[in-house]
Symmetry: C2
Subunit: 354 residues, 2 copies
């Protein structure tokens, strides 16, 4: 793993390792944490369900497993800061310099959040929000200490793909991935899928936690850390269309001739319908071959393209198209923001061929 910070622990795999398997093994799965990784025990851990519900619940992990039907969803989890490195090349941003590895795809097993909310007699009235509280503790200079918390709109919370998960790829969640219980909200930025979950509150407004209100928003390009008005930021839920070249690696020295490019593309709730690759920085394109598991709509698409690389320096580039005919912006300048979120311009990799 490429470790960005040791505490809180933030790390991503190498891109070649990421691209080796469509299901990302737990040890290769990026870790984004905001505080110390909690030491929890599934025998004593409890989940509270409260707020606008008829019957508040207080459940152990065993009770969750026994009372509700288990289901498995294959879904990508990705950090809102994935590929921030490319945005930092334009102008500095806050946050860790994530390469395109702050993403992974896993088979998540757990119980449906909708089932648990229904058991609690939660209202599904539009306009409600489902807030999550977790037991990781965050310390911030101006905010003091607080526990991690975020929320999602009730409509998404009631969707069948949203899980309270115990397992990743058929194994118990590793500590750094949220043992013994985490939320998995397919399609949404990782920030909305808290690890180490302790409480679910149904309420008439988004979470008032720092993480919801004063972070993880898309702010206009002209705002800086000093001038930011968080109320003008757009809360990041669904993630944009994105793609990356995983092989060859950046600055690779290659043999001239036929070369195979490999990577991933992701369109969250939409479908990736085409991936174009270029060996001349986007002047000319050709189409890559796509692999997508039709049974796993929340999964990513892997792509492969064979190109003929002449001797010399090359700028490889990739861009994806989604089922609404949308494609990615060309330049990271076009979407720069001081938090470095949603970096989704064409991914470019410089290589030399001899």
């Amino acid at each position: 793993m490429i470790i960005h910070t040791k505490e809180p622990f933030n790390a991503e795999p190498s891109l070649a390792r990421l691209r080796a398997s469509s299901i990302t093994a737990q040890p290769d799965f990026y870790v984004r944490s905001h505080g110390k990784i909690p030491q929890l025990d599934e025998k004593t851990h409890r989940l509270h369900v409260a707020g606008e519900v008829r019957t508040p619940l207080d459940l152990s992990i065993t009770e969750l497993r026994d009372r509700f039907t288990l289901s498995t969803v294959t879904a990508v989890m990705q950090c809102a800061g994935n590929r921030r490195l490319d945005m930092q090349a334009v102008k500095p941003t806050s946050g860790d310099p994530w390469a395109p590895g702050a993403i992974g795809n896993a088979e998540w097993t757990g119980v449906s959040l909708a089932d648990v909310l229904q058991a609690a007699g939660a209202s599904a009235e539009p306009g409600l929000h489902v807030a999550f509280e977790a037991c990781d503790e965050i310390e911030m200079p101006d905010e003091g200490r607080f526990n991690y918390g975020v929320s999602i709109p009730i409509g998404k919370a009631m969707s069948p793909e949203v899980l309270l998960a115990f397992e990743m790829n058929g194994e118990a969640l590793a500590r750094e991935h949220g043992y013994p219980l985490r939320v998995v909200v397919p399609g949404f930025a990782g920030v909305r899928s808290p690890k180490w979950l302790t409480a679910i509150i149904v309420q008439d407004r988004p979470s008032d936690n720092h993480m919801q209100q004063r972070d993880y928003k898309l702010v206009p390009a002209e705002m800086t850390a000093n001038t930011v008005n968080w109320d003008q930021g757009i809360t990041i839920y669904d993630m944009p269309l994105n793609s990356a070249i995983c092989e060859p690696a950046a600055r690779a020295e290659m043999k001239a001739g036929l070369a195979t490019l490999r990577g991933y593309a992701i369109a969250t709730a939409r479908e990736v319908v085409r991936v174009d690759v270029s060996i001349d920085g986007g002047r000319n394109w050709r189409q890559a071959e796509l692999e997508h598991d039709a049974e796993a709509p929340w999964s990513w698409s892997f792509w492969t393209a064979t190109v003929d690389l002449p001797k010399g320096e090359h700028e490889l580039a990739v861009r994806a198209w989604d089922s609404a005919g949308q494609t990615q912006p060309a330049q990271p300048d076009d979407t720069w923001n001081f938090k470095g979120y949603l970096s989704a311009a064409w991914h470019r990799v410089h290589v030399s061929a001899t």
Copy 2:
């Protein structure tokens, strides 16, 4: 109306007229037709429902109105070639040079397609398609004469927003808008919403009509009319995020000082969450004010921005952001295709201020 061709009749309104009302009046609504506008009579017109259905139907307009619940949906209709003019500035394409006026928003009244399919006992099996046949006749050099036909996937056909419509804005459909019966598929390109509808066929494959198979596909940039392989094109259903400046008009001569910019933005099934405007070709941006009717999710958003224009020449630009944090590409070069479809780069308008 700005008339592109008289026969078939293809015309769009001026942008100032388009922006004058969030609901577009019938006489201001763009017309895209592929053949002569049929002369039909609602007293004798009939609709057939056949294919993979338990009970084929043969209904008059009166029977449609009497047997099914009427509903009204406010929705944008837009041509896949809207804003083609901007793509043609890069390199010639086929098709009419539509400005950003090949779009309109109306209150459509009719019956739910899903209700009619259910009455016919249609299967809702994924993988099925609902083909539409219409009575406008098209003549093409290599194809001879044929009737207009297209299809949509069954999942969309069964969605409650899809109508068989008789009325636009509380009036009978005008002849050029499909009297006495048309399909309205909110979110999808206009090509999938046939006018002058005569038949609905549930089948295991997309329509084999020319319109479905050898037109209205997104093809890669390197294909031309001579080299096109339609099987590699992506059928255009959902439309991409788009926005346009309606006022001031292109090449307007304005007074220096405060000026109001007005336009529209559309994100089909998503939401427009932000619109940025620029007076320096996209180097600096500010946010426009958005108006959106929350009760009308298939409607467009109107936007307004007041800017201070110094004396001189200016390139005004607009771009929208959707609820997944996606934005439009900067340059029409980035998405050019020989058919000129899905032209959705930043809309730019040159003005001079004295």
